[in-house]
């Protein structure tokens, strides 16, 4: 496979797979401008599906709920996840391996199991379901992603910088704020962006932990597309995809810049 003569075959296959990855996205985009509501045939260009969902109050309020949940969960996870990653890199204690295992558990346990566990727990302690219970549940997996990204960065840092700061008379708090955190900032930001996008995307955990009045955007989308094909959902997907792809690109640029700095 590594020889030059076979290059075109594997390259062609990769191109095909890229096509596979982008086909559904292209289809959604195509339908979102198609005047025909229910056909694969092109019936003329229209913006009406976009206008329709921008006037849809249910969609807009669901979007608001989602943005609020994702922002709060990410903010909480950023603080306690970063603290935990620093703590884990710095201290040795009995049961550390087990502890780390528990932290990363939400990355591999199926969403449905986390959703069930949270719902049952909230029922046992009799906390009414609300926007806050979704936030609390989302922090669990956001925390894991922030901690993972920050930990990776921590293992690549130069510990001498912090020691130098301490030798020069900085207090541990000063060295944390002025030396360690600036070095961790790119990792914290990209961890947060990842957590944010995942929180915006979560359907299962939110539907188990949302109260009656709360409706996140995945919950709203699910209830609409489950039964029928909806042209305004195509328009919504295009807007959401552009938004989250931009976030992904920003995260990647931040990561790339910080890598470049490190190797200079």
């Amino acid at each position: 496979m590594q020889s030059q003569s076979k290059f075109p075959v594997s390259a062609l296959f990769t191109v095909l797979m890229f096509g596979f990855m982008y086909l559904p996205i292209a289809v959604l985009a195509f339908y979102s401008f198609n005047a025909a509501p229910n056909s694969a045939q092109w019936k003329g260009f229209t913006f009406s599906w976009y206008v329709k969902f921008f006037q849809d109050n249910r969609i807009l309020s669901a979007l608001g709920d989602s943005l609020l949940v994702a922002s709060l969960a990410t903010a909480i996870a950023a603080v306690i996840g970063t603290l935990m990653a620093i703590g884990l890199s710095r201290y040795q204690f009995y049961g550390k391996k087990l502890f780390q295992g528990a932290v990363y558990l939400p990355l591999i346990i199926p969403d449905i199991a986390i959703a069930v566990a949270t719902l049952v727990f909230l029922a046992v302690i009799a906390v009414p379901l609300s926007l806050w219970t979704i936030v609390a549940a989302h922090v669990v997996f956001c925390l894991a992603y922030v901690a993972l990204v920050v930990s990776t960065r921590l293992t690549n840092l130069d510990p001498n910088l912090e020691e130098a700061a301490l030798d020069l008379g900085a207090s541990p708090l000063q060295s944390l704020v002025f030396v360690l955190l600036p070095q961790l900032a790119p990792a914290i930001i990209s961890g947060c962006l990842l957590a944010f996008v995942l929180s915006m995307d979560d359907f299962l955990i939110a539907s188990f932990t949302a109260g009656g009045g709360v409706n996140t955007i995945p919950m709203e989308i699910f209830s609409r597309v489950r039964t029928s094909v909806r042209p305004d959902m195509n328009a919504l997907s295009v807007v959401l995809m552009i938004a989250s792809a931009s976030v992904a690109l920003i995260a990647e640029v931040i990561r790339y810049q910080s890598e470049k700095k490190r190797f200079q």
């Binding site: 594997s10 990769t14 289809v27 694969a40 996840g81 201290y91 049952v120 510990p159 989250s244």
Partner: protein, 293 residues
């Protein structure tokens, strides 16, 4: 990483309190919302026919026996069959892509190519599955292409094959990411040595490349299998009633019309158990491979 001087200097908090201050908030959160709840669902799973508000008295394995009744068992089996098929599909489709990006593509493009391949992951998983409805349905994109070139239309939507396509599509980027990470570290000198010693490219591939990235293959397969086994959205949107999976059954026991929290908890525990087993296998198997290289 060690920074011993940090804890030796006088500071705002006594030395023994520092790790506690840093680790306590996150630990408490995890303990309250992940560990304790899991113990509670284990307890609930031992109670037959429980509804919200009932007094919980663990009284046996009835819920677990019920899982092995043909009706439920076929759903569990379907979940794991779909997950296995997805794993195999992602491996077969993903390996050549990861291989080409890691070893044959121009070096300066590699990061960009990888980002390009995984970019769809950042968009709504629900909407990407929904897109497959538009492609696979009777009057959808695929069938209009097929009929326009004179081929018969296919009824793929609401069949297990549609679920499989949706699941492979959703999880392929993860597989490529993990395979890429292990192929990137491949020792090419070993491949050259194999060629010098007279191995055909095929032999070199099987006996040099594959063993070296076996830990990556195992990790990627595990991740895809686990995620696939717990998938809710793809079976729900693409599968129809004949493709009901474990996640949907659990959903029904908690939020659906047939509420039975005890049985739902038992189903949940089975899923957690299988996942833990798979991870344990990976840790054991993965380590052995790392050592043998």
């Amino acid at each position: 990483m060690k920074a011993p001087s940090v804890s030796e200097t006088p500071s705002i908090a006594p030395r023994w309190l520092q790790p506690l201050l840093m680790l306590a908030p996150a630990s408490l959160w995890l303990l309250l919302l992940l560990i304790v709840p899991t113990l509670i669902i284990f307890q609930l799973s031992l109670v037959p026919n429980i509804k919200p508000g009932d007094v919980v008295i663990p009284s046996g394995l009835d819920n677990y026996w019920r899982i092995f009744q043909p009706e439920t068992f076929s759903i569990i089996r379907r979940s794991f069959l779909l997950a296995s098929g997805t794993t195999l599909g992602c491996l077969v489709l993903g390996f050549p892509v990861a291989y080409w990006i890691a070893l044959s593509s121009p070096k300066r493009w590699r990061n960009l190519l990888l980002l390009g391949f995984t970019l769809p992951l950042w968009t709504s998983s629900l909407l990407r599955s929904y897109a497959w409805v538009s492609i696979l349905r009777r009057t959808g994109v695929l069938n209009s292409i097929l009929t326009s070139i004179g081929l018969p239309a296919l009824d793929l939507l609401y069949q297990p094959i549609a679920v499989l396509i949706g699941m492979i599509y959703s999880l392929l980027p993860y597989m490529v990411l993990i395979l890429y990470a292990s192929l990137e570290k491949l020792d090419r000198q070993l491949l050259e040595a194999a060629a010098d010693l007279g191995a055909t490219p095929f032999q070199a591939f099987w006996r040099v490349t594959v063993p070296q990235c076996l830990p990556g293959i195992a990790a990627g397969s595990l991740l895809v299998f686990i995620t696939g086994a717990g998938d809710f959205v793809n079976p729900e949107l693409l599968g129809g009633t004949a493709s009901r999976t474990a996640a949907r059954s659990i959903y029904d026991q908690f939020l659906g019309a047939t509420q039975n929290w005890g049985f739902g908890s038992a189903l949940s525990m089975i899923l957690i158990l299988v996942v833990s087993l798979a991870i344990a296998l990976l840790i054991k198997y993965g380590d052995r491979n790392a050592k043998s290289i």
